[in-house]
């Protein structure tokens, strides 16, 4: 199916598109082996409470039930979590959110499983609960964990913020609030696992981090890491929500009680909502000041992230938010304070934008308020303060790598959507108001200091004369697998027919970091490039031996062959592969992402992840039309200009940008997990509204191509940056249209109408 050239810079279709569009590609959810058992969790249904009794007798008695497991059946620490291991696999004493699993059932069929789960009686003594991060910090608030409700409190300071406010000519302050957002991947959390006769566990699972999963499972269940094999097929979406254990520990536990039979666990949509991770809700208090000449001068902000019942990556997510809290601007005086707090809400976790979406809303609105007070054009004001190489960012880190916000803003300024905006606004029909909004954003790449961002790539020349890449980093839809094939094709001079890719499998690929943090293509790509270069050198050397040339010169790889250019003689790759043993037909290389060398003397509370040194940048422009009668907002046009170094695949680049914008539009207009006392009121796609094809306009994506010299072929990751801008840009457009400022998202018709009637009063 695959065809043609696969070089870097070509807008080639992703190589997995053919099997996906025909239905042949097997996702984790698509495995139904013989003799299958189904596993499912009984969930607490109480936001905070003490478990008195879990009565499983009636469930166990049901024909077709193979096992019912509770806390006492969990060997090991019973604790999962990526950094902070605070989340029980099965709760035994306490429940801290309604989705907490308290029992695990293995059954012959899904029907029996459902009946058995309904027959489990869980007696829970309710405890006072808390659902707001600031309330959870008050004295006397109900305590979730032994160490209290504060997961992490941290401060990033630069200059003298308090003093600097006195030097400002204009100062603005505002409070912003954002809700939990659901990832909404179409393939909900699932996997298949079985125990081998030697006791080891094999798992095919929809995961972003197969290598780290082994640690989590081993730690939680008291297993040897080497006895766990995790295979990660293509994911039906991830966006951060499959980073960290979802079904993994429960599924491994189930497999340990299945007598070697394969066990499948597949959360239905409602369970995915109730038990899955969410983008953190947050409340953000901002105060910022500028000089009369339009120079940003001081920022003080207090950020409260709602981590829900457990840590997941809450501290690290808040860390990234804090590092971005001053926006992509020069800001000499900053005081950024953050609190990541446990509540009895659903669990906050990683999601595209990783803490940055929240602060981007706040800071970009603050920029508009300052511009308006200063009487400056919002674009010029941003341009004047935009970070450039050599500047220090709001965390005090010197930007020594590619820093391309200015060309993004300049591209917007030249674009017809910018120059024609006033004319377009005037064309609004009766009862319609039009507005145009702008936002500039950035997003860090990589794990940051303290956690090596590494990858190991393996490449093999098969006996059939093909190059096989052992991918270690899952492709959840972002297209890294195709980018890897393009890089290998470029260096090895091969077309698609000569290239293969093995999906991540801890037994075949080599340990590498997760598919996350905009680091996937950058880090693994760099490792792969080195492995390809080593392979190329090796093949030229071996060809020289075979052709008995005096020196290894004048050789080139061409499709299917190694050619000695001076003589025109060719050696087929199959032939060469047959001459050498397997150990000589592979190459392995590794890469670790560089880190900041000037670590600022602040943010000491961060355990890992502070600071970052690579960023991608973007400027977005949006046209909205508001219906004054219904309060409905229609996004009419969208321009996204992105700087991410060199573009490996223009089609893949556009896909990432357009997809991120669509998720951001959903976040701005309609998406929110509605909570009442920790209960999700809209745990289904029926009432948690995801954008449809009618809600998203045409999205024009433009790339500003810089070069990131440390990147593979000069690229940086751009998977996340595009998600940060739609919310502030749409809020700005709304204010432009109506003269009203909405500081709480999403901007539902209700909220818009409410604000309009307030404004009219």
């Amino acid at each position: 199916m695959k065809k043609g050239l696969l070089g870097v810079g070509y807008a080639v279709p992703r190589q997995d598109a053919w099997t996906k569009v025909t239905g042949e590609e097997k996702f984790a959810a698509d495995y139904y082996p013989e003799n299958l058992l189904w596993a499912g969790a009984k969930r607490a249904g109480v936001s905070h409470g003490r478990i008195l009794r879990v009565d499983v007798a009636a469930a166990q008695a049901l024909p077709g039930v193979v096992a019912v497991l509770t806390r006492k059946d969990v060997p090991g620490t019973n604790r999962q979590g990526i950094v902070h291991k605070d989340q029980p696999v099965l709760a035994g004493e306490k429940v801290r959110h309604r989705g907490e699993p308290v029992a695990l059932v293995l059954a012959e069929t899904r029907e029996v499983l459902a009946q058995a789960l309904a027959r489990i009686r869980v007696e829970i003594e309710p405890l006072p609960a808390v659902f707001d991060p600031e309330e959870a910090l008050q004295p006397g608030a109900p305590q979730l964990h032994e160490r209290g409700n504060l997961l992490l409190r941290a401060k990033i300071e630069q200059g003298q913020a308090d003093e600097a406010f006195k030097e400002c000519d204009v100062v603005v302050a505002e409070t912003f609030e954002v809700p939990f957002q659901e990832h909404g991947f179409l393939e909900t959390q699932n996997g298949l696992a079985w125990q081998e006769p030697d006791g080891s566990i094999v798992m095919i699972v929809s995961t972003q981090a197969p290598f780290r999963d082994r640690f989590e499972i081993a730690h939680a269940l008291g297993l040897e890491m080497g006895a766990i094999r995790v295979i990660s097929p293509y994911l039906g979406g991830g966006f951060g929500g499959k980073d960290g254990a979802t079904v993994q520990c429960l599924l491994a536990l189930a497999a340990m009680h299945a007598g070697g039979r394969p066990v499948k666990m597949w959360w239905d949509r409602e369970e995915s909502f109730i038990a899955g991770y969410k983008r953190h809700a947050a409340r953000l208090y901002y105060r910022a000041g500028a000089k009369a000449d339009g120079t940003l001068h001081a920022l003080h902000c207090r950020l409260y992230y709602d981590s829900g019942a457990y840590a997941h990556l809450g501290g690290e997510i808040m860390e990234l938010g804090m590092e971005h809290a001053g926006g992509p601007y020069r800001l000499p005086h900053t005081c950024i304070e953050g609190w990541c707090v446990y509540t009895n809400n659903p669990i906050g976790g990683a999601m595209r934008g990783f803490g940055v979406c929240q602060v981007s809303f706040a800071f970009e609105r603050i920029m508009d308020l300052l511009a308006s007070k200063l009487g400056l054009d919002p674009l010029d004001f941003r341009r004047r303060n935009a970070l450039q190489r050599g500047d220090k960012n709001c965390a005090g880190v010197t930007l020594v790598h590619s820093t391309g916000l200015v060309p993004c803003l300049e591209a917007i300024k030249r674009h017809a959507l910018w120059t024609d905006r006033e004319k377009w606004k005037q064309g609004a029909g009766p009862f319609k108001k039009r507005g145009v909004g702008l936002a500039a954003v950035f997003n860090a790449m990589g794990y940051g200091r303290g956690l090596p961002d590494s990858a190991i790539a393996k490449l093999e020349l098969t006996p059939e004369g093909k190059f096989r890449i052992y991918n270690s980093v899952p492709d959840m839809g972002q297209g890294n697998a195709t980018a890897f094939l393009q890089m290998a094709g470029e260096i090895l001079g091969q077309d698609a027919s000569r290239l293969e890719l093995v999906p991540p499998d801890t037994a075949r690929s080599l340990p590498s970091g997760s598919s996350s943090a905009s680091r996937t293509t950058y880090t693994f790509g760099n490792a792969l490039i080195r492995a390809c270069q080593e392979m190329k050198e090796k093949l030229c050397h071996r060809a020289a031996l075979v052709l008995m040339t005096d020196e290894v010169r004048g050789f080139a790889l061409v499709p299917g062959k190694v050619r000695h250019l001076p003589s025109g003689r060719n050696l087929d790759l199959e032939f060469l592969a047959g001459l050498f043993p397997e150990t000589d037909r592979s190459s392995v290389s590794q890469f670790v992402m560089p880190v900041a060398q000037d670590v600022p003397d602040t943010g000491k509370e961060f355990f890992i992840g502070f600071p970052h040194v690579f960023f991608s940048y973007a400027a977005h422009l949006v046209y909205v039309e508001v219906d004054e009668l219904t309060g409905t907002i229609e996004v009419r046009d969208y321009l996204a200009v992105t700087e991410g170094g060199r573009v490996i695949n223009p089609q893949g680049f556009e896909q990432q940008v357009q997809g991120a914008v669509a998720q951001g539009i959903g976040y701005a207009l309609m998406e929110q997990v509605l909570l009442h006392q920790g209960e999700i009121l809209n745990p289904n796609l029926t009432n948690y509204i995801l954008p449809t094809s009618r809600d998203i306009p045409g999205i024009e994506s433009m790339a500003v191509e810089t070069v990131e010299p440390t990147g593979p072929f000069g690229m940086k990751g751009i998977g996340e940056v595009g998600a940060n801008a739609p919310l502030p840009a749409i809020a700005a457009a709304l204010e432009d249209a109506l003269g009203l400022r909405l500081t709480r998202s999403p901007f539902t018709p209700d909220r818009v109408l409410g604000k309009m009637s307030q404004g009219a009063r």
Partner: protein
């Protein structure tokens, strides 16, 4: 015993009449190209064609297949010269596939749309596919793909693609 035509082949199945069609296809017949994303008729990932019309297999029971002709994504390419339906080709070429979990349902919904309206405008495409959710693409390239497939099928000359919005 339920009799129906599946991807052009006569089927006779002894299955409980209340078995969900999506389970019948995926689990019993191994046709896992039909996906399940919500089980409640909201996402469209389980779309199949029933007598040429798009239907949600998570909301259908086996008994409802009696006497019908069903096309799943595995059957759509049958009889095509290139091994791919023009819509499938266009989805690949236009970059309309990312994670791919919505793609089979989206392609089948688009096939029914083009059957009803061989020359849809972009707004008509958007309306026609609004029952199928995609979380990866922002739909832009999906609309491009359906438009390209319509052009190809109609053998019409390339037009400059009209923009979605902004009169």
């Amino acid at each position: 015993m339920i009799r129906f035509v599946l991807n052009g082949k006569e089927m006779q199945l002894d299955t409980p009449p209340d078995r969900r069609v999506v389970d019948l296809l995926r689990e019993d017949l191994g046709l896992t190209g039909t996906k399940e994303g919500c089980g409640a008729g909201e996402c469209g990932a389980c779309t199949i064609l029933v007598d040429g019309e798009s239907r949600l297999s998570c909301l259908m029971l086996a008994a409802q297949l009696q006497g019908r002709s069903i096309t799943t994504i595995e059957g759509l390419r049958q009889g095509t010269e290139t091994g791919l339906h023009p819509l499938q080709e266009a989805f690949v070429e236009c970059g309309a596939v990312q994670c791919g979990f919505c793609s089979p349902g989206m392609v089948l919904a688009a096939a029914h749309l083009l059957e009803r309206n061989p020359d849809p405008s972009r707004m008509e495409i958007r309306a026609g596919l609004s029952g199928n959710l995609c979380r990866c693409t922002g739909y832009v390239k999906i609309v491009d793909a359906v438009e390209a497939a319509a052009r190809k099928t109609e053998n019409k000359p390339e037009e400059t693609a009209p923009k979605d919005a902004t009169p």
